[in-house]
Structure formats: C-alpha cells, structure tokens
Symmetry: D3
Subunit: 284 residues, 6 copies
C-alpha cells in the first residue's frame, strides 16, 4: 500500500520559464529512458517477485521513490510552461527569439494539457507499457535496470547541458546523483548473485549442456571483402580470443557459413487463396 505527503523530494525551481525546455523535460517523464518507465518497472518487478524477500523489499523502495521523481519533473514542466505564448499572432508580434518558441513547443502542452505535464515523451509519443521489463528472472531484470539507469543518467546529463537555468540545473544534479546510486544498487545485486561467473549465461538455471556447444563461444563474422582489416581487429579484441567473460568457454572467431540449407515451404493451402499461379507453378 502507498502513502504520500504533499511535498517534493527535492527542490524544483525555475528561474526563467522556457516552454521548449518543458518539451525536452517530457523525455524524462514519458520517454523510454524516463521515470514512468523505471517507476513502473521496479514496482512490477517487486509485485511479481518470486524468491528471496529482500529483493522484493528493495524494488518496492526504489519504485516508490521514482513516483516522487515523476512528481518533480511534472512540476518542472508546469513551471516551465508558465507564460508560454498561447496564440500564433502573439508570437509574431514579439521578437524573434520568442517567435521561434511556439514552433518548438509541444502544441499539446497548449491544446490538450492547459500548460501542464503529460504522459508523453519529448516528441509527444505516449508512454508505452511495452517498455516495462519484469521477466521473472532476477538477473535479467537487474540488467534491464542498470540499462534503464544508464540511459536515464545520460538523458539527465544532456538535459543539464541544454539548460542554463540554475534551478533546473540543481534539480537535474539531484536526479543525476540518484541515477548514480541506482546504477550501483542494481550492480550490487548482480554481485550478490555471483558476479559474471555466477550470473551468466542468463538464465543460469538452464542446463548449459543443452545449448549448442559449437557456436556458444564463437564470434561469427559475416564480413566479406575485408579490405580494411576488420577481421584482424576482431581476432585481437577481448571477444575474439581468451576465456569468455563468464569463465565457461573460450572465445574464438569463425566465418559465417550456412549450415541450414535452402528452406523449403509447402505450396499454399488452396483455402488461403494465394494467387492461382503460386499453386500451379511451384516448380518455376
């Protein structure tokens, strides 16, 4: 169950509202790298958690924290939209810098949201539930989380570069800091689960003897006409020779060769109404 107070987790100040920046901030709310995604991802992982209790606990904690991050960003969007132009003629009457603003805004901030935040990204694409990963495998989930916090922190640093508003820079430095923690936190679980050797290949509960033993540590090279030395670069790279990262195989490079022969499908079922010529002429 969940509770709230009405205060923000951290300061959200906007000294000079900028509706174009409001549009950019939406990426951190409803984008694939954004807070709605991590919030729901951690909560679903918690609710679906099967296995040691402490992972459910942790996921619930951090998922709950992320709701407060959506709240902060939604507030930042609303504040950046205050004073935004609401008519095209207003824009034109003013100076050029303002003139550019309305074209660079998300028009739905005016038309659909009345100068508030939306559940969309910086291009106005709606948040999409398919982005929420809760696989039932704890290690796979942790990599999904490290990845989410890596692209999330990357996004926050780019937003930090895009603005010179001190209030916004301060808020973003907080979110960047939280992402640092969260990257570390999910990596800590992977260490607890056994590190590279214990964790991989994911899932580690599938008997590895049942996977194909010829191709499971081979780098398959599809390159032809190699005039620029790529093959050599592949062979000498970390993934081209030496022990594999999981310690369970030896890396090597092999050329791509088709093992599977020509595929051969049956002629069409007549009731599927392919064209007549497909049924007659299979030998053509």
């Amino acid at each position: 169950m969940f509770y709230h107070d009405s205060k923000l987790q951290y300061n959200v100040r906007v000294e000079k509202p900028n509706p174009e920046f409001a549009r950019m901030l939406q990426q951190a709310i409803g984008g694939i790298e954004g807070e709605m995604r991590v919030c729901m991802q951690y909560l679903f992982q918690a609710w679906n958690s099967r296995g040691p209790q402490k992972y459910r606990d942790m996921l619930l904690e951090t998922g709950t924290e992320e709701i407060a991050h959506i709240e902060m960003l939604a507030t930042a969007v609303a504040l950046n939209l205050e004073g935004a132009p609401l008519s095209l003629q207003e824009e034109m009457a003013q100076d050029r810098v303002v003139g550019a603003v309305m074209g660079g805004m998300n028009p739905q901030h005016i038309l659909s949201a009345g100068l508030g935040a939306m559940a969309v990204d910086s291009n106005g694409n709606p948040f999409n539930g398919s982005w929420i990963v809760s696989s039932g495998n704890l290690a796979a989930d942790m990599y999904a989380n490290v990845m989410a916090e890596s692209t999330g922190r990357l996004l926050a640093t780019r937003l930090w570069e895009a603005t010179d508003d001190p209030g916004m820079k301060d808020m973003l430095s907080f979110l960047i800091g939280r992402d640092t923690m969260h990257q570390n936190q999910w990596l800590a679980v992977l260490e607890e689960l056994g590190g590279l050797n214990g964790v991989h290949p994911i899932p580690n509960s599938f008997p590895q003897a049942k996977e194909n033993q010829e191709f499971n540590y081979a780098f398959v090279s599809t390159k032809i006409n190699d005039e620029d030395g790529a093959a050599e670069r592949m062979k000498s790279a970390r993934w081209g020779n030496g022990p594999s990262m999981d310690g369970k195989g030896e890396f090597r490079v092999i050329p791509a060769t088709p093992v599977g022969g020509l595929p051969k499908l049956a002629p069409p079922d007549p009731r599927g109404h392919a064209q007549q010529e497909q049924m007659e002429g299979s030998g053509m």
Copy 2:
C-alpha cells in the same frame, strides 16, 4: 552494404507442425526480446558509431548475423503453420485437442499472412521501433545489449520448454548458444572500457563533482510501518553499506524525507480556458 545467400544459418526442421507454437515463436521475431529488435539495435548502433572503429565493426557483424536469425524463425513459423485449420467448422469436426488449436492461434496467421510469419509478437502486437536503443554512449548501449541478450536467451529457453518437437528444440539450442556468446561479447566490451570502476557511473564523461553529493550513494528508504524487518535487510545488503560498485562512494541507507517543500503553480492563464472557479478560487 549487405549480401545474402539463400541458405539458412542453421537447421530449421519441424517434425510436427503446431500452429499454437507458431504463435509463441512470434515473440522471438517481433517481441521486445526478439531478433528484429537486436538486429536493428546493433545495426543502428553500428551506423551511428562515433569513436573507435572496432566497435562499429563488431556491431555490424553481429547485427548482420541477427538478420539470419529472423530468417530462421520466420521459416520456423511458416513450417509450424502448415496444415493449420482454416475454418471453424473443420476444427469442430475433429477431436478436442485439435479443437482447441484455432482459438489458441494468432488469427492473423490465417487472415493476414496466409500461413506465414509476421512482424509481430506472440500477442499480435506489431514490432515497435521505440525498443531500439542507440544512445550514442557505448557503455549504455552495451548494457542495453546485455539486457536484450539476457531476456532473449530467457525467452529461447522458455520456448525450448514449451515444445517437444526435436527439430524445434535443436534450432532453439542453437539460438540459446548464440545468446550465450552475445552476452559474453557485450560484457567483453565493458571490460575493455574499464570494468565497473572505469565505466560507471554512465556516462563517465560527465564531471561527477557536478552531481548532488549527498544523495549519490544513499539508498533512500520510503518504507513506513516497518513491522517485518525490511529496514534491517536493506542495511545489511550489499547496497546498504560498504564501498559502492564503482568504487567511487560509500553505500548508506537514509529515510525518505521531503526536501522540496510544497509545489506552487501559478493560477491558470485565462486564455487556456480552465473552469472559471479555478481562476477565482486559487485560495480555496
């Protein structure tokens, strides 16, 4: 530039076609864990690659290999659909096991694809380009790739459990093996890039001094009414104390406390046509 021969990378045999399994296999084609995603993800990462040449090379190699995996799976879907029922009465005339089949099929396999593979997942959701991660940051991309191969191998092992067709099990054991390699391969890049300490926090090019220094290694606990000892579990976990995974901080646990005060938005702009009472009654 790209080339092809007409052969399959590995054997695709179906001993006993099963249209319900065809539907499940679609997850490995057009699902978020599937081959279209990794194929396009690696190719876009290659095409956008800025920095050392060898990473572009590698991504292009493996992206190209993945096209062949889509090809194998598409062939497997088409073969599993051969002999599928095309009419509801046919289904009813036959025994019950067959009777269940049509309801469990993807009806578009009959209606839209004429018993062929589609660019959709196991629920018929179309493949979605938003899943393709190419962030411009090599380490973030590598985690996206490890994650994709982890959920991808997990999916393949579940498909392996779902079928007892020896041909399908053989094909899946090949794909499982390839996913093992690919997990290792992306991890090898992360090692080359400096391992946990060198790589994190991602992006490592943002001056870490500019992130908030109070909250960047703190586990924020939102739990209240802790009757079941979660707090204790958090404090003694790997992420609750000791050096952080990136070696750049010290983990600790702090209670969630609002620092940011009550948010305060301005009254609505009249031209946004909020309800009259919202403009008058801001003090209510």
Copy 3:
C-alpha cells in the same frame, strides 16, 4: 513524495488459480478502463493542478490509493498464474478443459513475464499514455474521472461475473465498492463547481456569446428516408425540445443542411510532386 508499507490494501486470495482469468484481470491493470490509467490520471491532474488547493489535495489522495489497486491486481494475476502449463505437450497430455487453457492464456505470461503481471490489457496491448487525461480544466477532468470510474466499475462487475473463485469475488467486491465511492467523489466536485447550470458548457470561462448562436442548442438530424419514425422520436425526447440541461438555451430539432458550399482547394504546388495530370487538369 511517496511512501509504502509492504502490505496490501485489501485481501487478495486465489483459491483455484486460473491462468485464463489472469489474462482477463490484465484488463483492470493495463486496459483503458484499468487502474494504471486512473492512477496516473489522478496524479497528473494533481501535479498540474492550478486553482483551489483542495482539489490538488484530493486528487493526490486518490491517485495514491490507486497505486495500491494496481498492486492488488498484479498480485492477483501472479497468484492466478501459479501452476499454469508451460509446455504445449503438457497441455495435450491432460484433460480437455486444461487442454483449452494454454490457448486461452496470454502467451507472454509464460514467455515474457515468467508468470507475473504485465503492464498490458487482456489482449496484451501495452498500457498507453495517451489515455491519461489532464486537461487543465477541472470540470472536464472530473467528467473524465466519472467516466473512468464508470467503465472501471463496469469492468469489475464483469470480472466478478466471469469467476466463481470466492477470493477473487471478494477482492472484486472491494474494488467495485471503491469505484462507487470514486464516482460519487468526482460528482461531488461537479456539484461544488455549480452543478449542470454552473458547470456547462465546459469550459465555462469562454464567453458564450462568441459561440455560434444558431446551432448551439439544435439537434441536427442527418436522417433521410425516415420510414420508421425516428424524427418523431427525436422531437419528443428530452434533447428535442424544452430547456437545455445547462438552462442556457432551448432544445430544438433541425434538419441537416449544408451551409458551407463546395470546398475548393488550389491546384497542387509543383514541388510537392503530385501527378502531372493533377496540375494540368484542374478543370476536368
């Protein structure tokens, strides 16, 4: 800011797990009538709230409660999936009723979620942020909320009919009760805002004198060849005569008549590369 304890708001018991019912329950999580939608809708309305404080307060309260409803339903899905068949042969070996189950399941419950809940509806469509309404107009938002709780309660009663599991029926009777409250709650705001006469037409801050005065209380009838008396039914209905619901006009019925003449677009701009004949032959 938000907090949690680890307990459920209400009992979630499943006596006899049913994976088909798990699929149906997904509609109440990730469907347009579901809890993710109302949760996010109320929270965004709160965060964007401009005007009297008490509406922000209330929206934050109920938005927070809804997170606990997602949690309950996610738990119910996970419990209903326990013991689900994971392979097609298993299905076939058992009796027919079970035989039908796997075809009626969401295959992603097996393949993508490892028998857990997902952010999707009963057809596996991902949750979509475009459903979240936060318009900046309090009365419009309240109608969006009444509507969401009406279709939501309708959904819950249909789920109640679909199952005979006493645990599930109990949980649903709680959610049905909550929806009763929430319908009433949003209607209470509409009363506070002035009732039908005070609230409508929404937005009430647009000077009504500026809307077209000929067509604003007229029922436009597009019916031709009226052999079954529809015109009569329209004229005698509540919307065909008498004072309008907002008390600001008089209902009447008028036949559809085009006022606007034939539309006339200019010939294509040559650089838009219409077909040659479109540019030459505008008079044809």
Copy 4:
C-alpha cells in the same frame, strides 16, 4: 447506410494560410479530443446499441454529423497549408517570422500528405482506435460522450485563441456551438435514465448489496505528515461528509490502513527459468 452531398456543413474560410495552425488543427481531427474519435465513438455505440431504439437513433444522427466535422477540419488544414514553404533554403532566404515556420510545421504535411490533412494529432501521433468507447452500458457511454465533448469544446476554444484569422474563428465558433449542444444532449439522456440517483453507481444493474459495504462511501486518505491541513479540507468538502451524490450512502473520511497483509507468491516454476538463486533462496 450513409449518403453525402459535396457541400460543407458550415463555412470554412482561411484568409491567411498558416501552416503552424494547420498542425494545431490536426489535434481536432486525429487527437483524443478530436472529431474522428467522437464520430467513430457515436457510430459504434449506435451499431452496438441494445435497448431502447431512440438511443440508437440519436447516436446514429450525431455520429453522422461528426463526419461532416472531420470534413470541415480537413478542408481547413488543406487551406492553411497552401503556400507553405517546401524547402529549407526557401525558409532561410525569407524573413525570420517565415523562417520559424518550417520548424514549427508537421514535416509530414510536406513529405507524406502533399499539403493535405492527415489522420494524426498535433504531434503527428496517429489516430488510435483504443480511444473509442462503446461499453455496452448506456450511462457509462453517455459520460464518455460528455467527457469527449467537454475536452473537445475546450480544445476548440484554445484553437480559437491561437488564431486571429476571421475565417478560422468563425468556423471554430460553429464547432464550439455544436459542442455546447452535444454536451447538453448526452446530459439529457442521463436525466432520462434517472439522474444521479437513478443512474449511479454505474452499472446500476449490479446488485449493490454485493459490493463491499465498508468502503463504498468512504474517502480513503493516504496522506501522512499532514502539516498543511489537508485532512481538514477533506473532511469539510462535499465528498467528506453528508449524503453521497447518488443518495445511497453517507460520505466519510477514513485513513488508509492495509487490510490485506503481506503478499506471498510461490517460488518460481523451474521451467520458467528464473535465476537459480531465486529458487534456492526463497527464505533469504
């Protein structure tokens, strides 16, 4: 069955074409508040109508009228695009106000539609069938319709503010007037169906005795650390005490308390290939 003449329902004049306004108008065509949605919503409700004939009649009438509204708006978009810049250099050669235009346009108006209207919203998001509500319950549908006409009229008034073209303002004043009528019209049905007391809780055909009787008229407060008096505001509001809006209960405020205990999921099914440690360590 449906018929047409080639004339517009009302005047569509554009004195000074503005491609940025064309982009904004798209919200009223393909947006969630737009005419495609209400058109299809009313028609589907009509076609699915079970019960008194006159509601089917009315829905068919107004659904048919809405097709003419899409037509008007599509014409308005096409007219606003006439003379739009088609090349980036053209833009740069001209003055700044024009200079801003191309960036603020929907690029697909140039590239995909050849200066015509599209089935998308103001951000280029395609129209989405999930927005069409036809629930089978007449009262729920009516609220969906009131809500659609409320956000629709709100949108139209914002478009009215955004332009100073007299032709466009005239067209919008007509659409605003029609939305006034349509709000009233759906409300008239709700009155016919019994008003608040007769209609609620929706659906009124579910025996209310079967819903939970403890929580069905209680405002659940999730607020903690209430330093700003929200609790008091809740208790004295219309929804905090006194008779409920449907006249079937008494409002009261109760604090959120978990009744449901800790959720407990079974360990993972081994064939779902959770990580090994999840299966071993459930007690951790």
Copy 5:
C-alpha cells in the same frame, strides 16, 4: 456533408452465433485490410483532393459507401456475440467445443464492449491512423487503394472459408463483390491517367533526367555463393532484360558493388556525453 438512413446496405444474418468468428470479423473492421482503413483513406483522399473534380467526387462516393460496410460488419460482430459465455465456470460446465470458445474469444468483447463490435483487429490491436494513405499524388493513392482492396478481398475470402454460416457467407459474398468493383475502379483511374507508360515512374512530375541514370533500370543482385542458379533465373525473368514496364528504360542485372566507400563520422560532441573512451580513442 453526410446523411444516413437506419437500414443496412445489404443483409446481415447470423444463423448460429459464433464468438470466435466475431473475433475474426474484427480484422475486417479495425485491421489494416479492413473497412475503417479504406473508409477513412478514401475520404481523406477526397477532402485533400487537388486537381480534376471527378476524382474528388468518386472518392467521396466510395468513401461514403465504406461507412456502410463498417456498419454491416459491426452488426455481424454483435450478432455473433449473442449467447457468448460470460464466465469461465459456465464454459467448463459445458461440452468441450464450447469449452474452447472462451479462450478463443477476444476477452474485450466481454469486458470492454458488452458483446459489441470494437475499433480493433482480430488480435485486439486498435485501429491505427498511420495506415491511412493520402499522399497528394493521385497515382500513388490509386495504387494504395488497389492494394487495400486486394488485401481486403483476400481477407474476405479467407473469412468466407472460415465460416459455414449461410448468413455470413452471403454477407461476405457481397463484400467480396464490392471489392472486385473497387479494384477495377481504381485501376480505371490509372488507365485514365495514362497507363503504365504515362503513370510511371510515380511521381511523373519529377524530371526523370535528374534521377541517377546508371541504376534506374538495373536489378541489383546481392546474392553471393550462388549454387542454386538464382542469377540465371533473375537474368531470364521479365525484370532482368528487355524494355522496362514504363517503356522508359531497359532492364538489366548487375552485381551489388559498393560505390560509397567507408562512412566516417566525426568524434562525439563532448556535451552529448558519450563515454570518455569514445572521445579519446577514435583511432583505435
């Protein structure tokens, strides 16, 4: 402007309702091959029509007819859903054939639509506005229309095969006939526009001298390791030699050869926060 009567364009009879067939019929309503798509496609093409008046006329006629087809199919869905099972236990109590039905239904037909039609396809994917093609080029639009009517008629014949209900077969034979007409109708426009030679390459208003003259009639072969004689098959096919279909070139086969050299991107912009190693090590 548009009008209606309340009658159906053609008979819609269902002798034996079948909820699984209702699900399949949805493909013809909200699927990419369905009637909502052609309806909106023809209407948007009409509304955007620039050039000879008669094409606008024709598109408006047929677009209006298609609304009646959606109506027929929606009615057919509603009729096929009558008597459908609404609870899982009901299903289990009955015989096996019925037992399979609920799993094969669209669960939203029960939960969201109250046994009515929806704006979705046979997998429950919502109708999507991106499918609507109105390009501004009449010939391109005509091919989009021929294609839509080809896949549409294909779909209708497959639905015809899937059912043995005489009422449904009769309705489908009508729709199949209409699709025959519509294929012919769009082809007639292409003939009027000049046939293959006059129409192609589309757009014919782009000066063909400005396209690359080396590659515009060459079949580029990407095949390597050609052991099965594909090259020979390509050379002797209609597209491998002889005059091109538009009569403006000569077909020939050439091997794929890269002309463009190695792509070379600049190092990352530091403010985009690539990983440090990408900026340093561009030469690696």
Copy 6:
C-alpha cells in the same frame, strides 16, 4: 543468411549539416514510406514465399539491397546532425536562422540518440511492424510493393526539393533511381502473372461465381442533392460504363439503396451489466 562489407552502396556526402533536414530524412528511415518498411516487407515476403522459386529469389535480393539503403540514410542523418546545437542558450546567443533550428529539430536526436539516426519517422513516431505486408498472395503483395515504391519515390523527390545540399541531392537522385527500378520490377511480376485480366480480381483463386453478381461491377453512388453534376461525371468516366479493367464484367452506375433492412440486436445479457433501463425498455 546474410553478409556485409563495411562500405556504403552509394556516396553519402553532406556539405553543410542541417539538423532540421536530419529530422526530415527520418521519414525515409522509419516512416511508413521508408526503407525499414520495404526492407522488412520484401524479406518477410521472401521468407514466407510459397510457389515459384524465382519470386523468393527476387524478393530476397531486393530486401537485402534495402538494408543498404537504411544504412545510407542513417549515415546521412548522423552527418546532418554534426555541429547541431545542444543547448537552448547556445541557440539564443546566435542569429535567428540558427535560432529557429533547435525548435525544428527532433529533440530525441539530442536527448536519446546522441546525434545519431533512430528507428522513427519525421515526427518521432516509432517504426511500426503493422506496416509490413506479406499476405501470402503474390499479386496482392506486388501491389503493396508498387504502392510502397510509389510513395517512397514521392517522398524522395520531396526531400530532394527540401534541400539544396549537393551531396544530399546526389544521394537522393540515386535513391529516386532505385525506386524507379523497383516500381518497374514489381510491375513486371504482375505482367508475368497475367496482367490485369489474369491477375484480377485478386485473389484469382476464389471462384468468382461465388461472389455477389449484382454488385460486383457496379459503381454505387451515395450522392444526394446532386446540384453540381457529379452523377454525370461518374457515368461518363472510365469506371462508369464499358468493360471492367479485368475484362470480366461491365461497369455501370447505380444509386445506393439499402437492401438490408433495419438491424435488430437482442436485449443485453444481464450479466454484461448494461444499465437497467436498457434491459427493461427495449421497446422504447
């Protein structure tokens, strides 16, 4: 199976990077007219190919070529983004023309892709697998392909108009040329399959005697109040009289007349919880 070298199929040069043009180029990558669509469409058609071998061969060739087109365009996007502004203040400090740029960019090019290409269209809508047509009927597929290459060439000519960068114009003239070939190539298959008379109506394997014989060559006119002579234009057009394009019927024009009577649905099933009044009042 697939192979690559690292070179581009054709030159990709950008003399003066333009981030707004980068956004427009995305339409040719991830838009419905773009290269991802044709690439995947041809490959899926090849993989699903049932019937004469040479069509599988050809589809595989051209599908493989299209991967190289995505590669070229992705490279063009990345090159056009070099030097793009990354902060709003930078924009404002510079002159107005640059000032307009950031608002006209895809913000995700900065925030999500680090100045690289994405799998989206010019509005940032993600590529969508539903666009990929592989119907199982060769003739229907060929029309889908002609249509894709027609809108594709149209798009390329519009991009050609939008830029004056000589490198970009050169690249586009190559792509325009390739689209000329591909239009001709798919038309060649249609000729091989029998031309209009042999191919239509598609599918030609459905016994035409089973389609409705009254309506299959009739133009149905829904026009009423015909004051502008549309009826006459319809009758004298190619589709209004004379032999049909497939040579199997005679065109004629008939007025739209409802044959199907009033639809009549049963009252609601009580367990679907329609409103009480719907069940009682069916006769109203």
